[in-house]
């Protein structure tokens, strides 16, 4: 008989049928109790100003308005900053264009939104700082700068036969999850509040609301069933909306829903950090890096938010897959009068990796060598050259295997020859190709966050299983994968497992669903809870049937002990009648990791994910228009729990990354006002931006050497960085104009405009 196994299996998303038929509920879809009110937020029209007076008379008089809240309504902490203060709910001084100043509750969303526009605010305008360059000049920082040293970088650069200098910028990126920010709060007895929030982080939402109200955490319950995409955009940026919604509910003593309009959402919330780097690199004739000096500065916005951890992750990924012997890193966290930049898939890692990939690309052009070959020569090795610049030994390195396999399967070398031929025959249309590796560290770099809880119940009457964890389902399929793990551990059909909405009163003290580690942590906690229930059952069986040392094998709805077989349902019922607990919490804490943030040394990651991609692009040198012709990806997902779901992350992450480095451009006026706040002005990839040919594959030999659920590896963030190959393919196409002899200056995102200007500059250089 075939043993039913629910892992390593392509299963549809647990909500797929609900998604396609409109039956999946998101925050704004939750049925409302009678009398529910609707909120809207009024925000600053100045990016830096003292607020002299806010006159809300007309707002209060506006049709349908029931209540208005301001700073005066906050009895506790007026801040939603997760680690540090700096993100006031309603500030005294406006620090960015779009900063919330007050909010209203009205009888409909439309009336609330009309009302907030009627405020009369007098400002005393101050001069804003909006760019990284200005902030560096004025030493405007949100946290102290960091200097990290390994070896003797300056000496190594000086002694190198070849040296290069340059600078490079990667742009910001708006999350643009299709579901915007939303919260829904229902007052309970005892001044308690039930909060539904579109968030990746219910526990912190709970704590922040409790602090704002000066109440205990046990009076606030936060629930999130699913969210319509997030990508880091609600790891902290959702807090202010949940907080304001609660304030409105408290003041009106009625349920309040707060759904933020797309434009307001983009204007109010933070985005991906743009990074500026200056580098000086020394290398030998083979292109092997001998020493690297790098200055990394990021635009953090008005507050620290998660910028410390994001910049740390950038520093931790400045090596990508390359061994760097001598490094000198400087990191500046620039404070600007723009919305506080925040988590976004990759969390700084990708920005760090782009900085080094740009350097490698520069080295390759200067030596007139294939950049893939230069990349290869710099790879970490297995037995030697395997210590990172933060002193972690890499034990699971498979980048070489992945790279070699992909270089063959993608026909990289022959295609490169074809492209050169094509380019020599076409005056206005040029093709380019590039191959880039990914090595991405998995674990929160903040040690204590690497823990998770779970709660599992088995109901005695029908043997159905209820699972609850701290994991947030945001499209990555974590509920599906956790249910698969539970089904497998209990030998039950998938449909007997229900993963229920994530709630702070079921599993407390959870970490954000972030750092790609959601399923790793919460899946392991679920298995821990199940193992405790199984222990109860086996102890009962041992006691009752005098069976020794048998743990029980759970398969196909049966439980086998030595000499005794039960139907699962029968055993459960029997156990209940014999007063055995069928419910347990579970817990997991990531082993092995430790990191000294001050000295920047330790093992911050349990393991690394590896991947590589080859992209081929075509550009129009008259307009800068471009297209991805083909992308080949080979991605290490370990022993994947659900390959179909992992594939969705691999392909989707790539396209999102291509957006970050391509068509997505966040634009601010010099006065700090954001101008790209709707889909008509901010362009995320649409269907035609997908590669014409798209060959993504999971690395078949993949297996996590660490003790992670099912020996799998997460796929959340790392696939995004495969899109680096697109950017360097574009650069490669531009370089063809001067026969690959000159390194084109190209910053990200490579919009048609940037591409055309890069071409123009390259032509000028040549003419000189």
């Amino acid at each position: 008989m075939k043993i039913e196994n629910f892992i390593n299996e392509n299963r549809p998303h647990e909500s797929a049928i609900k998604h396609v038929s409109g039956q999946a509920h998101y925050t704004d879809d939750i049925p409302e109790p009678p009398g529910t009110l609707y909120g809207a937020i009024g925000w600053s029209k100045k990016s830096h100003a003292i607020i002299k007076k806010i006159n809300l008379d007309e707002v209060i008089k506006s049709e349908g308005v029931i209540a208005v809240v301001t700073e005066d309504d906050i009895v506790g902490r007026n801040d939603v900053g997760p680690v540090f203060d700096g993100d006031p709910i309603f500030p005294k001084k406006a620090e960015y264009y779009g900063q919330p100043l007050y909010a209203v509750a009205a009888t409909t969303t439309e009336l609330a939104r009309k009302a907030v526009l009627k405020a009369k605010i007098s400002y005393k305008t101050l001069k804003p700082i909006t760019t990284i360059q200005e902030a560096l000049k004025k030493k405007s920082f949100v946290l102290k700068e960091k200097i990290i040293k390994k070896g003797e970088a300056l000496k190594a650069i000086e002694n190198s036969p070849y040296r290069l200098k340059g600078n490079f910028t990667t742009g910001s990126q708006e999350h643009f999850a299709l579901e915007g920010q939303a919260a829904f709060v229902i007052p309970q007895e005892d001044n308690d509040f039930k909060v539904f929030s579109k968030t990746q982080h219910p526990s912190e939402t709970q704590q922040i609301i409790a602090k704002m109200l000066n109440q205990k955490s046990n009076t606030i319950t936060v629930e999130t069933r699913r969210i319509g995409g997030s990508f880091g955009g609600t790891e902290t940026q959702s807090f202010i909306f949940a907080a304001i919604c609660t304030l409105l509910a408290k003041k009106t003593k009625r349920a309040v829903k707060l759904r933020i309009d797309r434009d307001d959402d983009i204007i109010i919330t933070g985005k991906r950090h743009d990074f500026y780097s200056e580098y000086e690199v020394g290398f030998d004739e083979l292109g092997v890096i001998k020493g690297l000096k790098l200055k990394l500065a990021s635009r953090c916005g008005i507050s620290p938010d998660l910028s410390g951890a994001i910049n740390d992750r950038a520093l931790l990924h400045i090596d990508n897959a390359y061994y760097l012997e001598n490094v000198l890193l400087e990191n500046y966290l620039c404070k600007t009068n723009t919305a506080s930049n925040t988590a976004f898939r990759g969390f700084g890692g990708n920005q760090g990796m782009m900085a080094i990939e740009n350097i490698i690309d520069h080295i390759a052009t200067s030596l007139k060598k294939d950049s893939a070959e230069i990349r290869r020569r710099n790879f970490y090795q297995k037995k030697k050259k395997n210590i990172t610049h933060y002193n972690m030994k890499i034990e699971d390195n498979i980048i070489q295997e992945i790279f070699d396999q992909l270089i063959k399967s993608s026909n990289y070398k022959s295609r490169m020859q074809n492209i050169k031929k094509f380019n020599s025959e076409n005056k206005y249309i040029k093709k380019g190709i590039a191959m880039t590796p990914v090595k991405f560290g998995i674990s929160f770099t903040t040690w204590h966050l690497n823990q998770a809880g779970a709660l599992v119940h088995i109901y005695f009457n029908d043997g159905s299983v209820h699972v609850n964890t701290g994991a947030i389902e945001m499209g990555q399929g974590t509920y599906t994968k956790i249910a698969q793990l539970a089904a497998n551990a209990l030998g039950l059909p998938f449909n007997k497992i229900k993963v229920s909405a994530t709630r702070t009163d079921k599993v407390p003290n959870t970490s954000a669903s972030a750092a790609s580690s959601t399923t790793d942590l919460n899946g392991a906690a679920t298995l821990n809870a199940i193992s405790k229930i199984k222990k109860n059952l086996s102890e009962y069986v041992k006691r009752k049937y005098k069976i020794k040392n048998s743990e029980g094998i759970y398969e196909n709805g049966m439980v086998k002990f030595k000499g005794k077989i039960f139907k699962f349902n029968k055993l459960i019922k029997e156990a209940y009648l014999n007063r055995v607990s069928l419910s347990s919490s579970g817990f997991y804490a990531t082993p092995k990791i430790h990191f000294d943030k001050k000295n920047f040394k330790g093992r911050p990651f349990l393991y690394f994910c590896y991947s590589a991609a080859v992209s081929e692009v075509i550009i129009d040198i008259l307009t800068g228009e471009n297209k991805i012709l083909r992308a080949d990806i080979l991605h290490d997902a370990g022993r994947a729990i659900n390959p179909a779901i992992e594939m969705g992350q691999i392909e989707g992450g790539f396209v999102q990354g291509a957006g970050w480095l391509g068509c997505e451009e966040v634009n601010w006026k010099t006065n700090g006002q954001i101008t790209t706040h709707s889909p008509s002005t901010y362009k995320i990839p649409a269907v035609s931006d997908m590669p014409e040919k798209f060959n993504a594959e999971i690395f078949k030999k993949g297996k996590n050497i660490e003790n992670v659920i099912n020996k799998s590896k997460t796929t959340g963030e790392p696939p995004l960085m495969n899109a680096m190959s697109v950017f360097f393919a574009i650069k490669n196409a531009i370089a063809s104009i001067r026969d690959y002899n000159i390194n084109p200056k190209l910053d990200a995102p490579a919009t048609p405009e940037r591409i055309l200007m890069s071409i123009k500059n390259l032509k000028k250089k040549y003419e000189k």
């Binding site: 038929s21 998101y26 035609s688």
Partner: protein, 479 residues
């Protein structure tokens, strides 16, 4: 008599609303009154497709299934149509529609928020007996944004529908739906709701009478601009005349001298008609906007908004189109070139409306148009250019060039035309013509592109044109 009630078909029944608010969006109605939350708001400006629903419209005894953005559709425009929501596709016994099943089978949803919109776009495609070719699939979902999947699984799901039977519950109940639609199809609507007026005339004469009495009205067609007054500026529109209900204006005529397009003809119909005359016109219209937009938007609407970045406008200018204006008494024909005054200002007077557009049929001319934007699908042009030349024996006999995105209005490049006119085109002439564009235009910088880039591209498009004509081939990255 005009009615103040609207009627539409929903779930095989006639649904009547008494005196609806003309500023209420269809999306709002669906979510808050029908209490159907499958249809999502993603942007409230017709830019993401999450709110896509399908409208069935009676056309020659058949039902034309159109995907539209419910977030920028005003409720009363539903009059006489069938409304289909994502929830209506699933059968009572729980079995999924083939389009839904395909999306499940191919893992087409991740977070699921954009999914209902994709389902409805694909459903409309399914109902049009599509062959599910790659290009058709991409076009049909070009107005639906997904941030999770990267689109590959959605395309695979769509492709899998190719050989599926096209019979579904909607085809089974088609006869009944047609009968219901016929019952409600014949009525004009006039609504007075809390000081807000809404008119949906069926005939030209009705329109003229309305305008005679109500000079200060806003014309509504696709609503891509006007609806945003409500959804984004959060203001009321006090007086709306819905143009797309006027049957007399939904036509395309051709007298061999010019093609006349009625003001309420949807772009999607025009784009297939114009293809054999000016293939580049069709090429640009495909990128004008998503199918959800092109299903309801009109050329007249594009002209009336007079946006410097309206993609039809440079094309029409270079073809020297005429515009037919009418009021209660008179008909006036103007060259489009004389219609635009300044930024978003036109010569349209109060009481006047755009009746139709006349596009000359030019045989033997070369007509080429280019659109350059950050994104291929559903984006606003940084620069849009149209070239209409008559070349005999290498000599330019006549030339009309117009650009969008280069000035406060869509505008001809007069200086550039002068250089090219009556010349034998050489490299040297082209570089002179490029230089002349600097006299024609002083483009601005904004979030879409810098003035510098716009000028560079405007010049380069001239070079592209020259090369394409010389080499008799098309060069570009999109194919």
């Amino acid at each position: 008599m005009a009615s103040s009630n609207i009627e539409f078909v929903y779930q095989n029944k006639i649904f009547e609303i008494t005196n609806p608010d003309s500023n209420e969006t269809l999306l709002n109605f669906i979510r808050t009154k029908l209490k159907k939350t499958g249809t999502k708001e993603g942007c409230a400006e017709g830019g993401c497709g999450a709110c896509t629903v399908v409208l069935g419209e009676l056309k020659k005894n058949e039902i034309n299934y159109k995907a539209i953005n419910s977030c920028i559709t005003f409720l009363p425009t539903l009059q006489g149509k069938q409304l289909i929501l994502v929830e209506d596709l699933i059968l009572k016994n729980g079995s999924l529609h083939p389009v839904q099943q395909a999306m499940v089978n191919y893992h087409g949803s991740q977070c699921g928020f954009c999914t209902p919109g994709f389902i409805m776009s694909l459903f409309s495609m399914f109902k049009k007996n599509s062959k599910f070719k790659n290009d058709e699939i991409k076009d049909s979902i070009a107005g639906n944004l997904c941030r999770c999947t990267g689109y590959q699984p959605i395309i695979k799901a769509a492709k899998s529908l190719k050989n599926k039977s096209k019979i579904d519950e909607f085809s089974k109940s088609k006869k009944n739906t047609i009968n219901l639609l016929k019952k409600i199809n014949n009525k004009s609507v006039v609504i007075y709701h809390k000081g807000k007026k809404y008119f949906a005339p069926r005939y030209l004469m009705e329109l003229k009478k309305i305008l005679k009495k109500n000079a200060d009205v806003d014309f509504l067609s696709g609503g891509t601009d006007l609806s945003l007054v409500v959804t984004k500026e959060r203001k009321d529109i006090n007086s709306i005349v819905y143009m797309n209900s006027i049957r007399d204006l939904n036509y395309i005529k051709n007298n061999n001298k010019y093609i006349e397009v009625g003001a309420s003809t949807p772009l999607i119909e025009f784009e297939s008609y114009i293809k054999k005359y000016y293939p580049d016109f069709t090429k640009i219209l495909k990128r004008y906007g998503s199918p959800q937009i092109r299903n309801v938007a009109t050329i007249a609407g594009n002209i009336a908004t007079a946006s410097p970045i309206g993609d039809c406008l440079p094309l029409l200018l270079s073809l020297n189109a005429e515009i037919v204006l009418q009021d209660f008494k008179k008909t006036k024909v103007l060259f489009l070139n004389d219609f635009f005054i300044s930024y978003r200002k036109t010569k349209l007077k109060k009481g006047q409306f755009i009746h139709s557009i006349r596009i000359p049929v030019l045989k033997g001319n070369t007509f080429k148009a280019y659109k350059v934007s950050k994104r291929y699908d559903d984006d606003i042009s940084s620069v849009c250019a149209a070239f209409n030349l008559r070349i005999i024996k290498n000599k330019v006999q006549s030339v009309r060039i117009a650009y969008g995105g280069m000035a406060a209005i869509p505008k001809r490049a007069i200086y550039c035309e002068k250089i090219l006119s009556n010349s034998i085109v050489t490299d040297e002439i082209v570089s002179k013509a490029k230089k002349a564009l600097e006299k024609d235009f002083k483009p601005i910088s904004d979030m879409r592109a810098s003035g510098l880039y716009r000028m560079e591209v405007a010049k380069n498009l001239l070079e592209k044109l020259y090369f394409e004509i010389k080499q008799k081939k098309i060069i570009g990255v999109y194919f």
